[in-house]
């Protein structure tokens, strides 16, 4: 085969890949939307779960997921970014720091359910928090942390060496260099990483199920000490039910979660524009 023909073949394969990806995404959304159609309305968004599909709502689950998003962000973002700054800017360039850094990076590949098991032992049982919003927030923060760290480190590393050198040459202290030059330059990249970490984490059902999210919660959590309920677990609970109409409820819950996460992405987009 001539090199040109090979390139053509590869090009076609890539185009096919793109088409398949697009088809899969559209099919997924289409199936969800068709099923969710007629389920998602004001009553559904504001109402409480019910054994009657026609009356059931996701109000408590939405409140729970919002709580979890806030807690996860508040707990994991500062720590993760701080750790990233340490590893990129302060840590000595030696074997130990490298090892610690890559060990933490590898944590990003640990399946969410593993964090659920750890959270169950640590927060639910160990600290006696029970299956509460707080215990779930701590667990999800642990889950988000490695992703925050890895993406923030990448963003920091992409800031040209020259920026640091120039600022230092002008007499800026190390912290001034980081605060005034490096962090702003890395800002958009960090925000992208934070969004990824947050949406991936808050959409995970497995760790919350392991923590023991009850199937039927009648009220929206008002404090982090309240019983855990969230959109992904609500979708799971309804999807296991065999009565008619509950599959549609699960789809409606999934669409609600999707819209919520899209909003987070959109907010991040706006923020990124501002930071540039």
């Amino acid at each position: 085969m001539t090199p040109l023909a090979t390139r053509d073949l590869l090009g076609t394969a890539c185009r096919l890949g793109a088409a398949l990806t697009l088809t899969a995404a559209i099919a997924l959304l289409g199936v969800l939307l068709v099923q969710a159609l007629g389920v998602v309305d004001v009553g559904f968004l504001a109402g409480a779960p019910s054994r009657f599909a026609s009356r059931a709502g996701v109000g408590p689950a939405i409140a729970g997921t919002l709580w979890l998003a806030v807690l996860t962000a508040a707990l994991s973002f500062p720590v993760g970014i701080g750790a990233a700054v340490y590893f990129e800017e302060y840590a000595p360039r030696n074997r130990l720091a490298g090892l610690a850094g890559s060990a933490l990076a590898n944590m990003a590949g640990v399946p969410p359910v593993v964090f659920g098991v750890a959270g169950l032992a640590l927060f639910v049982r160990g600290m006696g928090l029970g299956p509460t919003i707080l215990a779930a927030g701590l667990t999800l923060a642990m889950l988000a942390l490695p992703t925050v760290l890895v993406t923030s480190r990448t963003a920091l590393r992409e800031v040209p060496r020259g920026v640091r050198d120039a600022a230092s040459a002008l007499g800026a202290t190390r912290w001034q260099v980081i605060r005034r030059q490096v962090l702003p330059a890395a800002g958009p990249g960090i925000v992208t990483g934070l969004t990824l970490a947050l949406t991936r984490t808050v959409g995970a059902a497995a760790p919350l199920l392991v923590l023991g999210a009850p199937a039927f919660v009648t009220h929206a959590p008002r404090t982090p000490g309240d019983i855990l309920t969230a959109l992904p677990t609500q979708a799971f609970t309804w999807s296991t039910r065999t009565e008619a109409d509950f599959a549609a409820l699960a789809a409606g819950t999934a669409v609600t979660l999707l819209v919520l996460l899209l909003t987070v992405n959109l907010g991040a987009l706006v923020l990124r524009r501002r930071l540039r």
Binding site: A48, S50, R51, F123, G126, M127, G128, L129, G130, T132, L134, G212, A213, P214, A215, F216, V217, T218, H219, R222, T223, P224, G225, D226, I227, T229, T240, R241, T242, E243
Partner: protein, 307 residues
């Protein structure tokens, strides 16, 4: 019992959060048996309807897990599809935890097959023992009876944490927990129903509430306990003809939780509503006198819990 300081700190944190944010205490948390979940859910919803603002969380993870969590003080009420075992009761006592046992309904353990499997319509207890016992020498329906088709049986049932599993193995196999282990196991009765409904030659057993709301896609197999084939009807469960596969379902309520108004009111509401909500969900109500007796027990332990 020595209290771990970290644990205490955790409890304190949750309590402080609840107090700081103006929450009126924590919710009533119900866990335990999945067989009783439909009734608990219905009662909970009806309770919230009569007393808006009451905060309830109803989950299920199997009877064994529920009782364990109850005696650790993690939940207020554990539903149970069997009585608490001597070992579990000892563990509770050792932890200094006190509870009351409240029978709330009866149900039958229903043997289910695919609707198009019309060949198998009645099984004897001895056959059930061969089917579900740990020796697993029955692989196809032909192994059970020569006139059955030579089709591989796929088994769906609850697993070791389930009260239904423990009860079924005890009365059918003769020893609690003695069971074949190559069956598809789940704590969720609906998943058992879904499995059998999707398998032409499948066999499963589940609580009668799950059979009730899956009755369009499952066929119940009658059981011959020596007095002819008895289908798992409400009448047969009530009058004892379906025994030993008919059983009582209980709530175990922590005595300290009963001191709280919301817990007490919920259990009282449960006793009021079980006979009304139960039958349509597949349960059989207890005689009214039993509910009366439970009300008395409830009131007495509340008085004891509240000095």
């Amino acid at each position: 019992m020595t209290a771990c300081p970290v644990r205490l700190a955790g409890f304190g944190l949750v309590a402080a959060l609840a107090a700081a944010c103006g929450g009126d205490g924590v919710a009533v948390v119900v866990g335990g048996s999945g067989s009783l979940h439909p009734l608990s859910e219905a009662v909970a919803e009806s309770f919230v309807g009569t007393a808006p603002g009451r905060r309830l969380a109803v989950g299920y993870s199997g009877t064994a897990g529920g009782l364990r969590r109850l005696c650790r003080g993690e939940i207020d009420i554990s539903a149970a599809s069997r009585r608490i075992s001597a070992m579990e009761a000892d563990a509770c006592r050792a932890a200094g935890f006190r509870y009351v046992e409240i029978p709330v309904a009866r149900d039958g353990i229903v043997l289910v097959a695919h609707p198009s499997n019309t060949v198998v319509d009645c099984l004897t207890l001895e056959e059930l023992r061969r089917l579900w016992g740990p020796s697993d020498d029955v692989r196809s329906w032909r192994d059970l009876r020569p006139d059955y088709p030579d089709e591989r049986i796929r088994f769906f049932g609850p697993g070791p944490g389930s009260g239904t599993f423990r009860y079924f193995t005890e009365v059918v196999v003769g020893r609690p927990g003695a069971s074949r282990s190559d069956h598809y196991q789940t704590a969720n009765d609906d998943m058992i129903a879904r499995g059998v409904a999707g398998d032409r030659w499948g066999l499963g057993y589940l609580g009668s509430a799950a059979h009730m709301h899956n009755r369009d896609r499952l066929r119940a197999i009658a059981v011959d306990t020596g007095f002819g084939c008895v289908p798992p009807s409400a009448e047969a469960v009530a009058d004892g003809r379906y025994s030993p596969l008919a059983r009582e379902l209980y709530l175990y309520v922590g005595t300290s939780s009963l001191a709280r108004d919301d817990v007490f009111d919920l259990v009282a509401h449960y006793l009021d509503m079980a006979a009304r909500l139960g039958p349509e969900l597949g349960y059989v109500a207890l005689p009214e006198a039993e509910y009366g007796r439970s009300r008395a027990v409830l009131a007495a332990s509340r008085r004891a819990a509240r000095p």
